[in-house]
Symmetry: C2
Subunit: 254 residues, 2 copies
């Protein structure tokens, strides 16, 4: 069963050009990427409390912590050393070198800037079940799909630079106490577009039929739904009162 | 990674008696079963619109449709013909006999009573991604766990009769147009307690250490979180305006 919401797309039979495929992917991002999610809109308008930002950072940590696992699953699907060398960079970016200073560690520092302690974040105690299921659905999608589809599901990176740049601007204005935790965002400003180009080139080269191209588009839709659903769970639990599920993190500050 | 929200439970080392284990499971139900979910409370107070009940019936159909698959996964874990004969009843209950009149079909009739058509329901078009991920997490939990844990995750049936009886009473008062779709509920009033006794007897007999008993309790917590998260997604998307995710069902009535 595919992970994303079903859609009805008029499907032709002609192979799309690289440019046409790129346009299709771009259109998915415009309509389904989580830059339009109500929780992000609240964040950018400065409406979130410190406790709500804590809940966001804590829950999103689970996603961050699974990224190198997802990338290792993708590495394991390829029998091409050149592809593996190119993709390996992502694991390094997230796990860091021997000192361990990579994206996962940087996200912990962001969470610390919200006022959480490292030991509250790392065990994922109090993670929202809805976030866990969405992130695990991403791993399942990658685990059980072809290399082409697994790579395609990474293409939300096409859209992340713009969102991160906006987020940094708005956080500086509305939540200046977060700026010591900006290293993750700064890193992603350059990493994400580089990685997106690798992924886009891969799917453009390896989707050899229109049907495969449609699967690539569908994989990006599925990934957008996975990101969106994480914010649904966070927005539901932490914006209106009375909705935190049993066992989930309860902020101790407004 | 376990599917449920993490909890901190003081764990002893002595084996619990059957009665003590039953009390522990009952306590999980009281605090975590979805009878206390805000969406169910709204439903029982008569606050839901027909469109919201459509969204609930449509989304919950995906869960219903996965139940016989879940039970087949459980059957496949047992090498005991007597256990398989007892558990097989559940598949019959949901899939029906050759005429096909079982729980899945009855749920479709409930959805029809909300005003949906069969063809809107069965393909799961417009399913909320959050509901899909939660239900798929249930299948993954059952697929990858021991028979003991898979059976334990079914024990929410201990609590369902009471919820269904209350729901029927309140629906008769507040949403009388649903009564033609009550066959599913009527069936479950007797099936669920029977099934729960089979499951309870199994875990009481086969959890041979305290550690296994704690795993049984944890599996019930995990299952409660899976039910709860489905309602989180429905409540978020369909109660406050502006929250329906891209691609999801949009009711055409209030």
């Amino acid at each position: 069963m595919a992970a994303g919401a079903a859609t009805i797309t008029p499907i032709g039979t002609d192979l799309l050009s690289r440019e046409q495929l790129r346009e299709r992917l771009q259109a998915v991002g415009e309509s389904r990427y989580h830059h339009k999610h109500p929780f992000h809109l609240r964040m950018h308008r400065g409406e979130l409390t410190r406790g709500q930002l804590q809940a966001w950072a804590l829950n999103r940590y689970y996603y961050q912590s699974r990224i190198p696992i997802k990338d290792a699953l993708i590495l394991a699907k390829s029998d091409d050393p050149a592809f593996r060398r190119a993709w390996r960079k992502r694991i390094l970016d997230h796990d860091g070198d021997q000192g361990g200073y990579g994206g996962v560690e940087k996200w912990i520092q962001l969470a610390e800037a919200t006022g959480l302690s490292r030991v509250q974040v790392i065990p994922c105690t109090g993670l929202l079940p809805g976030v866990r299921y969405a992130v695990d659905a991403y791993l399942e999608l990658v685990r059980h799909s072809s290399l082409l589809i697994a790579v395609a599901s990474s293409l939300t990176e096409l859209f992340s630079r713009e969102l991160i740049a906006l987020r940094m601007d708005q956080m500086r204005i509305h939540y200046p106490y977060l700026t010591p935790g900006f290293a993750y965002f700064v890193g992603r400003l350059t990493q994400a577009p580089e990685d997106a180009m690798v992924g886009l080139d891969y799917v453009s080269t390896h989707a050899l039929t229109r049907s495969q191209q449609e699967e690539v588009v569908g994989a990006l839709e599925a990934k957008c739904a996975i990101l969106w659903a994480q914010l649904d769970a966070i927005d539901y639990a932490y914006v209106a009162p009375g909705n935190i599920p049993p066992g989930a993190f309860v902020p101790d500050c407004e």
